[in-house]
């Protein structure tokens, strides 16, 4: 299909192209745009205030010149007038006045040639006709920009690829010299390889392949047993690998791994960020909903609809609220409010509301349309056919979306066991209440002192200010100290915070509803569903001038992207109703309409990225003119077509791609020089792309290495040990400090997969952060993998990596206590999934022995977690320091991992070997 609805160069209305002179064309296409951009602001826009009395807005003005009296131009002779010389900016003087604004050489030449051509000045209609006839590219009908220029502007069709209907492109024939493709996706890749004159790398060996596949599909390394089973499978390579892939797709860890990918895109976190960084105690249920959805192979159109409008499906009666489907739908919309957000006593309601609206609009754009809509917030989009009107139309679909922490029963598959945890929170709450009681008692005593004397109560400062005589001021011991004033606030904040955190264990959902906007109050507890959802104001939507919520402009109705092919049903220009409810359901309907080419392409591209390391379109969140164009557009369409035809299911597509030739290639090409020459970016996939483990995979792989990993699925967030300095780092929140990071007392909980660790915006595990886990403030389309020295420091010196090394050494020695070579061998198998070579084994054994000798003279004291931490704060009303003790109540129950104090020198010596293996490139890279 061609560019339906988009028009190319139109026939000229004013004058025939053949009649225009070169001078006229120069004027219309080059000279006048330069004058408009560089000159007329001072010389023409305001006839009453012409700089130097010089008018560049008409030919007459140029002929007359300015106050000097000399003509600016003499038609036919560029050297005769003053203008051309001034534009040259010689001798330190020229026009425009700032040298940095000076015209380019090409622009000056255009002016020169135009003067020499007689300086023709065609009328406006002719200018427009010339521009129209010469304009490259196509126009795109939209709901209209803020200016006519924008509305009529032209696009390079290549930049609009994502907006075109999805073709089902024919599968290319097998090129000469290529084997028949394993999957039709290979046919597309082979065609471009053949065109580039490249042969694909051979198939990777089984050991490499199972490691790659297991990390890609589960985020975990294969166990030694799984490797052995694959290596000894006597079926042919493809059949044996297909069995591995089927096992991995059936594993519940598949859902975890794909959820991890998805949570990057949707900026998932367990806390709200900003001043208080309050925990979002029920966010984890959204995370588990995502895991469940991938494991159940929920069709992507369904998955999308639930996240955009799940609550409306329930509230409209289409889904039963307490059914598994209804529960999932209510949890799914947590997506909408997952961005950083808070509303405190210092917040301005309009601003925080707009912050949500901007976040959700942009995130929906990036997540489902691969179109960062933020670009159209203050003006029409600079590159793409998205008028700012569309931005606010899509935003209007969320104008009646309201936050609520709704009662939602636990899903039958949810892990709703919270042994011990709520009790710790109750201890903290009781401690805060005790502080309050103590301070209240003291205040009472002071009040009584005044009452007994018939005096008015007041604090010391008030009394002094009032000039009360000393005998009418209560004795100092009845006055609250600075520390007590400070503690009063600390206790209040503890009650707020930990009281809210108890909701973690309740059947509630981080969710939304559609309704009128209630008045905003500071939010420091769950937001209940209102009894009457119509109470409040129905927000009117408008284009906000400059993106400012205090400057509403033209009103807008809820809508969708208006660029021609995206109006799914042409007869109803606008598929989203203006009713209070149903807006998001309609938006989801538009998104999942098979005629809308974006979501299917976007998701197919993500799946490709999750398996091959980089999308076919390399900017998975930006298919617009600002993003990279796809390396294999037909392949992307082919995959999108398969996705939709396969009822939007993920697993069949993943399975097919896993079994492709391309996925199974070796990462070292036999002729790297030829690949580097013909395909410097590696986009043709002549060889597989090696990759570093993600931060989460790295931590999980370390736990798998030691055998400590607890593979349980789902549940409330857990807290592993992180660097103690960071765990105890004082962190300001409004009026107090955030609580310390207390690791779970039970190793079982600490050694859960990283997906389940508490993800606070204001306190990130430095190990994960340094290995490029993205900050959850905005959608992340792809992980960065920088190599920085702090990573080496974390892995060589960090306490948690050292404990893993020790645990691995201990585990290995437990099974085979006496055979040195067997122990090293076992470490290699655990770390790299392969036996050690003789040389490696010998080197490691000898290192071990040397280290054991050194360790024999070392003594380690046990390290126990601190039971309290002293917080030194500045009491904000006095600027005076005070301190209080934060009790770390979980320390008493803490069951430590094996520490160096409990390990003998031989174990510690072997731990040094294990630590080296954990740091090795072979451990960190998947090839």
């Amino acid at each position: 299909m061609s560019l339906l609805g988009w028009s190319g160069a139109a026939a000229a209305a004013n004058g025939e192209p053949g009649q225009w002179t070169n001078g006229q064309r120069l004027f219309a296409l080059q000279v006048q745009p330069v004058f408009a951009a560089k000159c007329v602001a001072c010389h023409g826009d305001d006839p009453a205030d012409l700089g130097g009395a010089f008018d560049l807005s008409s030919r007459a003005g140029l002929l007359t010149g300015g106050e000097s009296g000399d003509p600016a131009i003499v038609p036919g002779d560029h050297g005769a007038g003053s203008l051309y010389d001034l534009l040259k900016w010689e001798d330190g003087y020229g026009m425009p006045p700032k040298e940095t604004d000076a015209l380019t050489e090409a622009q000056r030449w255009a002016v020169r040639d135009w003067i020499d051509a007689g300086a023709p000045w065609p009328d406006a209609a002719t200018v427009e006709a010339i521009r129209e006839a010469h304009a490259p590219g196509v126009t795109v009908p939209t709901s209209g920009g803020l200016s006519k220029d924008w509305t009529e502007r032209r696009y390079d069709p290549a930049d609009l690829w994502a907006y075109q209907p999805i073709d089902d492109p024919p599968i290319p024939p097998t090129p000469e010299g290529f084997a028949a493709p394993a999957d039709s996706a290979d046919a597309f890749l082979n065609a471009s390889l053949s065109e580039a004159g490249l042969a694909p790398a051979p198939r990777a060996d089984r050991r490499t392949l199972i490691r790659r596949a297991t990390f890609d599909l589960t985020g975990l390394p294969p166990t030694p047993e799984e490797i052995t089973a694959f290596l000894t499978d006597d079926r042919d390579d493809r059949a044996a690998f297909a069995a591995v892939v089927d096992r991995l797709l059936a594993s519940p860890h598949f859902g975890e791994r794909f959820a991890s990918n998805w949570l990057d895109v949707v900026r998932y976190a367990d806390s709200a960020g900003f001043a208080n960084d309050f925990e979002r105690p029920n966010a984890w249920r959204y995370r588990d909903y995502v895991v469940r959805s991938f494991n159940d192979d929920k069709p992507f159109d369904r998955f999308l609809t639930e996240q955009i409008a799940g609550d409306e499906l329930v509230d409209s009666g289409r889904l039963e609220a307490n059914s598994p489907e209804g529960i999932d739908a209510l949890l799914a919309v947590g997506f909408l409010r997952m961005g950083p957000w808070e509303h405190t006593g210092m917040s301005v309601a309009k601003i925080t509301r707009q912050q949500f609206l901007d976040d959700v609009t942009d995130t929906v754009g990036q997540t489902f349309l691969a179109q960062p809509l933020q670009c159209a917030k203050c003006h029409d989009h600079k590159f793409d056919p998205i008028p700012t009107r569309d931005y606010y139309a899509i935003q209007a679909a969320f104008a009646t979306t309201q936050f609520a922490d709704r009662p939602v029963p636990f899903h039958p598959e949810e892990a709703a066991e919270f042994a011990g945890e709520p009790e710790y929170l109750r201890q903290r709450l009781e401690e805060a209440r005790a502080i309050q009681r103590r301070i209240a008692a003291k205040k009472e005593a002071a009040k009584k002192w005044y009452a007994d004397r018939g005096l008015k109560y007041g604090n010391l400062n008030q009394k002094r200010e009032e000039g009360a005589p000393p005998e009418e001021i209560a004795p100092e011991e009845l006055e609250l100290t600075v520390a007590e004033y400070g503690l009063e606030r600390v206790a209040k904040k503890m009650l707020q915070r930990h009281g809210w955190e108890l909701d973690r264990y309740k059947p509630m959902a981080f969710s939304v509803y559609s309704g009128a906007s209630p008045p905003m109050k500071p939010v420091f507890a769950a937001m209940p569903l209102p009894k009457d959802r119509t109470k409040g104001t129905i927000a009117a939507s408008a284009i906000l001038t400059g993106g400012d919520p205090f400057s509403p402009g033209t009103p807008v109705e809820p809508g969708v992207l208006s660029a021609a092919l995206l109006s799914v049903s042409p007869e109803s220009e606008d598929p989203v109703p203006a009713d209070v409810t149903g807006r998001r359901t309609a938006l989801a309907g538009w998104l999942t309409d098979p005629a809308n080419p974006l979501p299917a392409r976007v998701y197919a591209n993500r799946v490709w990225q999750w398996l091959f390391g980089r999308g076919l379109a390399a900017n998975a969140n930006n298919f617009g003119g600002g993003g990279a164009t796809p390396s294999h557009p037909e392949l992307l369409d082919h995959l999108a077509t398969r996705l939709v035809r396969g009822e939007w299911k993920t697993k069949p597509l993943v399975r097919a791609l896993m079994l492709s030739d391309a996925y199974a290639r070796a990462s070292l090409h036999p002729d790297p020089a030829a690949v580097a020459e013909a395909d410097p970016t590696g986009s043709l996939l002549a060889a597989a792309r090696p990759r570093r483990l993600t931060a989460e995979e790295l931590r999980d792989a370390m736990l798998a290495f030691t055998g400590e990993l607890n593979p349980a699925i789902g549940g409330a967030p857990v807290r592993p040990e992180i660097e103690p300095e960071v765990a105890l780092q004082p962190r300001q929140i409004m009026g107090s400090f955030a609580p310390a990071w207390q690791p779970n007392p039970s190793p079982d909980q600490r050694h859960r997969r990283t997906l389940y660790t508490l993800k606070l915006r204001g306190l990130r595990d430095p190990l994960l952060e340094t290995f490029n886990a993205p900050a959850p403030d905005a959608p992340c389309e792809m992980r960065e993998t920088s190599t920085i020295a702090p990573q080496a420091l974390a892995l060589m010196n960090g306490r948690s990596t050292y404990l893993r090394a020790l645990a691995a050494a201990d585990a290995v020695l437990a099974t085979d206590p006496d055979a040195d070579e067997a122990a090293v061998e076992s470490l290699f198998r655990r770390a790299f999934g392969r036996p050690a070579t003789d040389a490696e084994r010998e080197a490691c054994v000898s290192h071990w022995h040397a280290m054991t000798t050194r360790h024999a003279s070392l003594h380690f004291d046990p390290v126990r977690p601190p039971t309290e931490v002293v917080r030194i704060a500045v009491e904000e009303n006095t600027g005076e320091r005070f301190s209080y003790v934060e009790k770390l109540e979980q320390a008493a129950d803490f069951e430590p991992d094996l520490g160096p104090d409990e390990a003998d020198a031989r174990t510690r010596g072997l731990a040094e070997v294990a630590l080296v293996l954990l740091n090795a490139n072979e451990f960190l890279y998947v090839e």
């Binding site: 900003f274 950083p340 006593g345 210092m346 917040s347 301005v348 912050q355 990036q366 179109q371 960062p372 933020q374 670009c375 203050c378 600079k382 793409d384 008030q462 205090f550 993003g627 990462s667 790297p672 960071v726 780092q729 004082p730 962190r731 409004m734 915006r761 990130r764 340094t770 403030d777 905005a778 960065e784 190599t787 920085i788 020295a789 702090p790 080496a792 420091l793 060589m796 306490r799 050292y802 490696e840 010998e842 490691c844 000898s846 040397a850 003594h859 380690f860 500045v874 904000e876 009303n877 006095t878 600027g879 160096p900 040094e912 080296v916 293996l917 740091n919 090795a920 490139n921 890279y925």
Partner: protein, 480 residues
Amino acid sequence: MASPLALPRRDALFSLGASVGGLALSALLADEGFGAKAPSATAGDGPTAPKPPHFPAKAKRCIFLTMEGGPSQIDTFDPKPKLRDVHLQEFQAGGEQKSAMASGKRYYVESPFQFMKAGESGADMGTNWPHLAGVADDLCFYRGCQAESVNHPTAMAHINTGNRFGGDPAVGSWVTYGLGSENADLPAFVVLPEVSHPQGGAANWGNGFLPAHYQGTPLRAEGSPILNLAPPEGITRDHQRRNLDLLAELNRRHAADRIAADDPFAQTLAARVESYELAFRMQARVPGLIDIDGEDQATKDLYGVDATDTDAFGRKCLLARRLVERGVRFVQLYHGTWDSHDQLARAHGNLIRQVDRPIAALLTDLKRRNLLDETLVVWTGEFGRSPDNSPRGGIAYGRDHNAKAMTIWMAGGGVKAGHTIGATDELGAEAVECVHPIRDLHVTLLHLLGLDDNRLTYFSSGRFKQLSQFGGKVIEELLA
């Protein structure tokens, strides 16, 4: 003993000139004796290699003094005698932009402090800034700046990153991205936070969408200055060397086929090997580089080190001087909290006493070492304070947040020293002269460092992003 895999260690490092990030490989290998003066090393050609500015500029680095919590302009550098006349008269704030806090009765309150004209330039300062008054002629006060948010975390994110809602790179990250580092042994962008991190935490010095090489590195006042810099307990340098040698051997072997085939991925693997060598050297070098114990007693006294009120901030200021002297590009110091809603006289009085001597010492010390000319020093909060007492205030007066008026000052390279630019209204409620938003302050700061905000861009989420978000103006009045 000789290992069967043993190779000369240098061979195991492969040939790699590129940086390994944040802290790039440098002359550390050769330069074990660090001189006190010149920056020791340059950062090769990696992401943090020194880059020329967009245009020549005097200032080459920046010390950013962040007075977190919002210092009151009225009670520091912008006296308002008129407040004496309206003291305790009722004041009405309103409008849609007010927060829930801004309710209840409010009263104008006069400043509890006395004021003086300091220096030849006659700069307005409270009399409780006796030390800073001594360098008043080096300062350029600016009273025209306006913030956009009256909420701490958003205002802090704004002054630190240009974006109220966070997620963007910090000013120091942008500057480092633009100019690179002059010392490969130290991070290019160093933060000296208070013991407690500010609201918003590490995002205040995060690299946002810029590569991780440009993120700020907080230095701890106590213990290991950089996280995990010290090896685990009991592990000596020699121990660790042995581990690293074994690691290098394993890595060498692992990459052997790729090196033989000249596969480009071998470079990535080599970069990781290099990062370990760099980390190993940093462990030995960094503590000494930042240790102020080597400073003479007179210098320590100048900064108020070991004196009760000034010790904490004095150490930071002295460390800041050591850092810029060693080529660190951007040093940000935190002090606070200046959020004095009540007991203004005591709260601000204490805070001023804590910073007055250290800051004056910093300027004096930079000057006598001929560093002030090429160092830009900025003093600012995230917003100013209101002329009326806070709704939380009792009879002991305080002030509320105020985005419409704040005083900042700059000193050093390229700054119009000895001038006061801009003005607020007669009550200090709102800037009225030479008024500019924070983005213009950012553009000006970049300009002073030779960077053009419109050229210092990075493509992310579909557009070229810049510190000022959408462009801004240089505040010409502040330039020498």
